[in-house]
């Protein structure tokens, strides 16, 4: 089902203003056919604007939008071969589920028999058989989202655009829908872009993530790339649970540093050990004090006061329990060091020495 040709999308130097506010600032981006891409960024970073411009709901003030190599700036959204899922779903509340899904097909003057086949095919796909006579108001949040998805897919679009598709659903069903949506889109192989402000969502669902900030694109890459090779200071701080450390040179084995540099620490780079436990690199570990212990289900988050900072670390629940106020060893494997423009990953010096020995 769906069309087999996989559409590529290209944005070239897109600029968009809302009054004085620059929503898109020289945005250039290529999305390969069949990819599932997340536009990730804080609110007001211009991610929804990009999506709406691709859909033809907004018009760029400068630059070009290309679909399959053709400039579509002056082609109305309805002729771009796009399916759009709105954040609020925007289901037609005075039409039944059946009529909602059939809406686009009727406009394309499909014969009634074909419409019927298509609607039931989609209902089966989204697992909502038997709901065709219901009105949107009679559906649960998850069902509404599925119907909105089916409605967008009905006319076999080449591109699927989703604006914050999980924002309006409660946490538990959200997780379920995420994997469902990823599965569906992978199965259909349709080029898809979704907007989100939730990095977990982007990481779990998307093949590629586009990080936006202040109307610009900061970095495009897979989740792993964003984690391990963040290209800009913004990405370092935005991805993961980062703690900025101004006085990072005070930490053992992180002695070098310029005036304007800041260390960015993530919990997974920190190891916390009891004073009595054996520490491999004891000469490069610091002393800290446990400030708080938070139970995270599968592990514990330990907040430690160290050199005037409060940093987070992850500790397994299988290890010997810590107490608040306890004096502990803190070993930092690595941290990112950023200034205004560039990012650098610095390893703990003793790790390098160790590898030399080996």
């Amino acid at each position: 089902m769906g069309s087999n040709e996989k559409s590529t999308i290209e944005l070239r130097h897109i600029v968009k203003y809302y009054g004085d506010f620059r929503a898109s600032d020289d945005v250039s981006l290529t999305i390969e056919g069949g990819r599932l891409v997340a536009l990730l960024g804080p609110s007001g970073s211009g991610k929804t604007t990009i999506l709406r411009m691709i859909a033809g709901l907004e018009h760029p003030d400068g630059g070009e939008i290309l679909i399959d190599g053709q400039v579509v700036n002056d082609i109305p959204g309805s002729e771009r071969g796009i399916g759009f899922v709105f954040q609020s779903y925007a289901l037609f509340r005075y039409l039944t589920v059946y009529e909602n899904i059939a809406f686009g097909l009727r406009l394309k003057k499909w014969p009634e028999k074909k419409i019927r086949e298509r609607v039931f095919e989609l209902l089966k796909l989204i697992g909502c058989e038997g709901l065709e006579k219901r009105y949107p108001g009679q559906l649960s949040g998850g069902q509404r989202q599925r119907v909105a998805f089916a409605r967008a897919l009905a006319p076999s679009p080449k591109i699927l655009l989703l604006d914050e598709p999980f924002a309006a659903i409660d946490a538990k069903i959200r997780l379920e829908l995420r994997s469902w949506l990823k599965e569906m889109i992978t199965k259909l192989g349709i080029t898809s872009i979704f907007v989100t402000h939730d990095q977990d969502e982007a990481i779990e669902v998307a093949d590629d993530i586009v990080v936006t900030n202040h109307g610009r694109i900061e970095q495009v890459g897979t989740a792993t790339e964003l984690y391990t090779k963040p290209a800009t200071p913004f990405v370092v701080q935005f991805i993961g649970h980062s703690t900025p450390i101004r006085n990072f040179t005070e930490f053992r084995s992180f002695f070098k540093g310029q005036e304007n540099e800041i260390g960015i620490l993530r919990p997974e780079y920190v190891e916390v050990k009891k004073i009595t436990e054996v520490v491999r690199y004891s000469n490069s570990a610091d002393i800290g004090y446990v400030r708080d212990i938070i139970f995270r289900g599968s592990n514990l988050e330990i907040k430690v006061d160290i050199h005037g900072n409060t940093i987070s670390a992850i500790r397994s629940i299988n290890e010997e329990p810590l107490e608040i106020g306890e004096k502990v060893w803190v070993f930092i494997y690595r941290m990112f060091v950023i200034d205004d423009r560039k990012v650098e990953l610095r390893e703990n010096a003793s790790l390098r020495e160790d590898s030399l020995v080996i």
Partner: protein
């Protein structure tokens, strides 16, 4: 301890309820039921034949028809204009929008008599427009167009006011979704926008009708009180009353009353249906 407190509160609540309901009932009886019953009593004081004669009087029939005409025309114009204005205000942003919304509410705040006088000044003999109107053979003041004009003016805000909150609440997502699928403006209106505002629109129309039928002040100024020509039902009733024809006045009042009751029934029926549909 806690239990006794709770009971006390409930008792207080009960007393409060009795007082509130009692006050409402007394008020309604004195100000509404009593006068209504009195109207009927006086209307039928000369017996059924007297009532029939008063109601089927040539001038009474003409006044009723004129009232209905003015109401229907005002309703048609206001439905159209109310739709346009509400649409414009909620779906687009433009300069002077605030002023427009304020102006639309003007008829509610201005006394109807003043509204009537405004039209007399605009279209009457003193007006610079008068020579042109006379040349074209258009008579507005002391004629049917004037009555309709006054009725339209006084009832204009009702439909607009009912529509604006509904259209504002709806937002534009559904319309955008339909447009992205290639729906034309009229398809979007018919399938998406209209069903949403249907009940609000009907409700506004009911309010507009009720007000149009009873309008006295503005119409009185513009009418000229020509019996059988420019007398609407409320004006005719006043005329009869001034001539000490109480049976006639009250009999004609009962016609208006019946209209009002029909409108009220329509209103509650609409409200009920609108509610059930919303719960769907």
């Amino acid at each position: 301890m806690a239990d006794t407190k709770k009971v006390a509160v409930v008792h207080e609540g009960k007393a409060g309820r009795r007082i509130a309901i009692g006050a409402c009932v007394v008020f309604l009886v004195i100000f509404l039921v009593l006068p209504l019953v009195y109207i009927l009593a006086v209307a039928f004081s000369d017996g059924w034949l007297g009532y029939k004669k008063a109601v089927t009087d040539e001038y009474a029939v003409k006044a009723t028809l004129l009232t209905l005409l003015a109401t229907v025309v005002a309703l048609a114009i206001n439905t159209l204009m109310g739709l346009c204005a509400a649409w414009a205000v909620t779906k687009f942003s433009f300069r002077g929008k605030k002023i427009l919304t304020t102006l639309i509410d003007l008829p509610v705040t201005v006394s109807p008599v003043i509204a009537g006088l405004i039209y007399v000044l605009t279209f009457g003999r003193q007006s610079f427009l008068y020579p042109y109107l006379e040349k074209a053979g258009i008579k507005i003041i002391f004629a049917v167009p004037g009555i309709i004009l006054a009725t339209v003016f006084v009832t204009f805000p009702f439909i607009f006011r009912e529509l604006v909150p509904v259209l504002t609440a709806e937002g534009t997502d559904e319309e955008e979704a339909a447009a992205l699928m290639g729906a034309s403006f009229f398809t979007i209106f018919r399938k998406v926008t209209f069903p949403h505002m249907k009940w609000a629109l009907l409700y506004g129309m009911v309010l507009c009708t009720a007000r149009a039928m009873g309008e006295f002040g503005a119409v009185s100024v513009l009418s000229g009180h020509l019996r059988g020509k420019t007398n609407t039902l409320p004006l005719y009733i006043e005329l009869l009353y001034q001539g000490y024809d109480f049976t006639g006045a009250f009999a004609c009042s009962s016609i208006l009353m019946i209209f009002a009751i029909i409108v009220l029934i329509l209103r509650s029926a609409l409200e009920a249906r609108g509610k059930t549909e919303k719960n769907v």
